[in-house]
């Protein structure tokens, strides 16, 4: 098996003292980021990305940099569960479903078992997803080597149409937010001809909008403003995890093996198809409630109700990296930020990565195994410490988070203009969240806009403007057809609903 050999080689890369140290640093930072309101996986990684610019220039540095950043991501995924269970505040959108049963458990004094169940199932979900990545991504990459511009555009189309088809938000709001992202991506120099577009004479806009600034503003500042509305006080249950609770919970967990398998499958699927971790967690919670013997007791504090969403969220969050490394199409906003990092470090994401940057790819995959083990150890042992962070009053933590966001936005290009843009995006993020405009497709469109446009125009050039090129071969045709099906899915569902009511 080629994959096993490559993986062992990857472990060799990831196991160096420096990389292991970065791994733990990343996890701890990530959990803190996941616990803090206003900082999450996407903007946390975005803020810390400039710190890796120097690191990535050393030999082997890009691997260290991606290990640091991806471990921040794993940490943030773990951290979201802490706030949901102890404080009933989902630190991340994908932990909303965890609050349904996690918080009642904490109120009953079983916070320790709820947390143990959450962390363990997160680990299981992530582990399954990493195994999937290990064996599936080389296949996908080999397959994708044959892709031409029409195929790549079909992949982009599929990504974006999936948002319209699977998101809970109104379809026209999803569409509007997504297209706004494309418009923002178009600002600056045209990727094909070099003409200036949509700059309206402003020198600040020559290089276009940086999506990192948008991510920091939309998710960071916007989230702070939303949190403020709810008031300043956090009231939470106290948590103490000792070995006895952990072992007792672990004894109970194998009972829910079916839920775990189902949730991992849902999560992996939703992560690869860019639905993302949030819908995966909700879907898996719903499925578990329907199939469980204690389904009617869900919401009153069932361990199974914590296992299902956490497994799925982690599986999806991890699986979102598969299309990112193999196709250069990220499945989630955080994966998009990591993709941005790759490009800044001078690596071209896509199928060639598996041939030209073996050390990097397999180092990253190996670090996913190690990072999640490290994560599980860190969160199980340090929960009280992380919970204490949330007891720091908001009047102290809020300005510090805003300062961190401002520093993050500034350091991307050393430009004050970006800090202003961050504030503008913050207000937009606040309004969009309140009015159910989804942020994920907007961010992904800013990241992928130029590439999607370039592949579309190249495909059009190749076919002399004939749109039927997107249906010319079975592969590209089926992808385009699936994309169109997803795009019109809300309409189909609506019509079906009307027909049935009659």
């Amino acid at each position: 098996m080629d994959e096993i050999q490559s993986l062992i080689h990857g472990f060799g890369v990831a196991m160096s003292t420096k990389n292991l140290l970065l791994m733990f640093t990343g996890i701890v930072l990530g959990v803190i980021i996941g616990v803090l309101p206003g900082l999450g996986g996407a903007n946390g990684v975005a803020i810390l990305l400039p710190l890796t610019f120097g690191m990535a220039q050393q030999p082997g540095g890009a691997t260290s940099a991606i290990i640091l950043l991806s471990c921040i991501y794993w940490g943030a995924l773990f951290g979201g569960a802490i706030t949901s269970i102890l404080f009933n505040i989902p630190g991340e959108p994908w932990s909303v479903a965890t609050t349904f049963d996690g918080y009642p458990l904490a109120q009953q004094g079983r916070a320790g078992s709820a947390l143990t169940a959450a962390f363990t199932s997160s680990f299981v979900g992530a582990f399954v997803a990493v195994v999937v990545i290990t064996f599936l991504s080389p296949v996908v990459a080999r397959f994708a080597l044959e892709f031409g511009p029409p195929e790549f555009f079909a992949v982009y189309l599929l990504t974006f149409c999936a948002f319209v088809g699977t998101s809970k938000e109104p379809p026209f709001k999803t569409l509007a937010a997504m297209m706004l992202g494309f418009a923002l991506a178009a600002v600056g120099t045209d990727p094909v001809t070099g003409t200036l577009r949509l700059t309206f004479g402003s020198t600040h806009l020559l290089t276009g909008f940086d999506f990192l600034v948008a991510v920091i503003g939309l998710f960071g500042i916007g989230e702070i403003l939303l949190t403020l509305e709810e008031g300043l006080a956090f009231k939470g249950a106290s948590a103490r995890i000792n070995l006895k609770v952990v072992l007792e919970t672990w004894k109970e967990l194998p009972r829910y093996w079916m839920t775990s398998i189902r949730s991992s499958a849902v999560g992996c699927f939703m992560g690869i198809v860019p639905g993302g971790a949030t819908p995966a967690s909700f879907m898996s919670y719903g499925v578990a409630r329907r199939f469980s013997k204690n389904g009617d007791k869900f919401g009153t504090g069932q361990i199974e109700g914590v296992v299902a969403p956490e497994t799925a969220a982690h599986a999806a969050g991890t699986a979102a990296l598969l299309p990112m490394i193999t196709l250069g199409v990220p499945g989630s906003p955080t994966a998009a930020v990591l993709l941005g990092g790759l490009m800044i470090w001078g690596l071209q994401p896509g199928p060639l990565l598996f041939i030209e940057q073996k050390d990097f790819v397999w180092g990253l995959i190996a670090s996913m195994y190690l990072g999640n083990i490290a994560g599980l150890i860190v969160v199980l042992t340090c929960v009280p410490l992380f919970a204490a962070i949330l007891r720091v009053p908001f009047s102290v933590i809020a300005p510090i988070i805003i300062v961190v966001c401002a520093i993050g936005a500034y350091t991307i290009h050393n430009a004050i203009f970006d800090v202003w843009m961050m504030v503008v995006f913050g207000v937009l993020g606040y309004l969009f969240k309140k009015l159910q405009y989804p942020l994920a497709p907007l961010v992904l469109a800013i990241v992928l806009g130029d590439n999607a446009e370039a592949s579309f125009r190249q495909a059009m050039l190749g076919s002399q403007g004939d749109m039927s090129v997107f249906f010319s071969k079975p592969l590209v045709g089926s992808m385009t057809a699936l994309a169109l099906l997803l795009l019109f899915w809300p309409l189909i569902a609506y019509l079906r609903g009307r027909l049935r009511r009659r």
């Binding site: 400039p50 710190l51 610019f53 120097g54 109104p170 026209f172 709001k173 569409l175 509007a176 297209m179 706004l180 494309f182 418009a183 178009a186 045209d190 094909v192 001809t193 003409t195 577009r197 949509l198 309206f200 500042i221 702070i224 403003l225 403020l228 509305e229 008031g231 300043l232 009053p393 908001f394 009047s395 102290v396 809020a398 300005p399 510090i400 805003i402 300062v403 401002a406 520093i407 500034y410 350091t411 050393n414 004050i416 800090v419 202003w420 504030v423 913050g426 207000v427 606040y430 309004l431 969009f432 309140k434 009015l435 405009y437 446009e453 579309f456 125009r457 059009m460 050039l461 403007g465």
Partner: protein, 168 residues
């Protein structure tokens, strides 16, 4: 809903929906306008630069128009409160100082303005004693200085105070 005081609606849901959709419409129109200037047609060497943005702008406009119509038609939604007066006050107490803070960063650098910003919040919203305010705000920025400038060698904006302390 209790009328009067902090719980009163500052904005209705429908107003907010229409305002944001209107913003989308304006932005979409702007995109279409510039795309037409660049040429949205098929040129001699393939699609011209405005081709792709033109359709993007058109979709924004159409979606925004539909969202406006939906907002106007949804009567039940219109009764909901978008943001209460008390909530809006809270949001503005953070937003307005943040805007001033960014202006200050451009003028006197990030260190002094961040100390003032954190201090302002702790004193005004948290009602902490002055010495606590001073310790937390200064210590935070010293830590950031060590992380960014010393450890990772990433320069942050500085002003005359740093120049006077010979830190840059």
């Amino acid at each position: 809903m209790t009328e009067g005081g902090e719980g009163r609606a500052a904005f209705r849901h429908r107003t907010a929906e229409i305002a944001v959709a209107g913003l989308f419409l304006a932005l979409g129109a702007l995109v279409v306008y510039d795309s037409v200037r660049l040429g949205m047609t098929w040129g001699a060497d393939g699609p011209r630069p405005g081709y792709f943005p033109f359709y993007v702008g058109m979709i924004i406009c159409v979606s925004a128009a539909i969202n406006i119509v939906r907002a106007v038609l949804l009567r039940a939604e219109a009764e909901k409160t978008f943001v209460q007066v008390g909530q809006l006050k809270m949001v503005l107490t953070v937003l307005v100082p943040s805007v001033l803070y960014v202006a200050l960063v451009g003028w006197i650098g990030i260190y002094v303005s961040s100390i003032l910003f954190i201090g302002f919040f702790m004193r005004w919203l948290g009602k902490y004693a002055w010495w606590k305010v001073a310790v937390v705000s200064v210590a935070t920025m010293v830590v950031f200085f060590l992380i960014f400038e010393v450890w990772f060698k990433v320069p942050l904006p500085k002003g005359f105070v740093e120049a006077w302390l010979r830190l840059n």
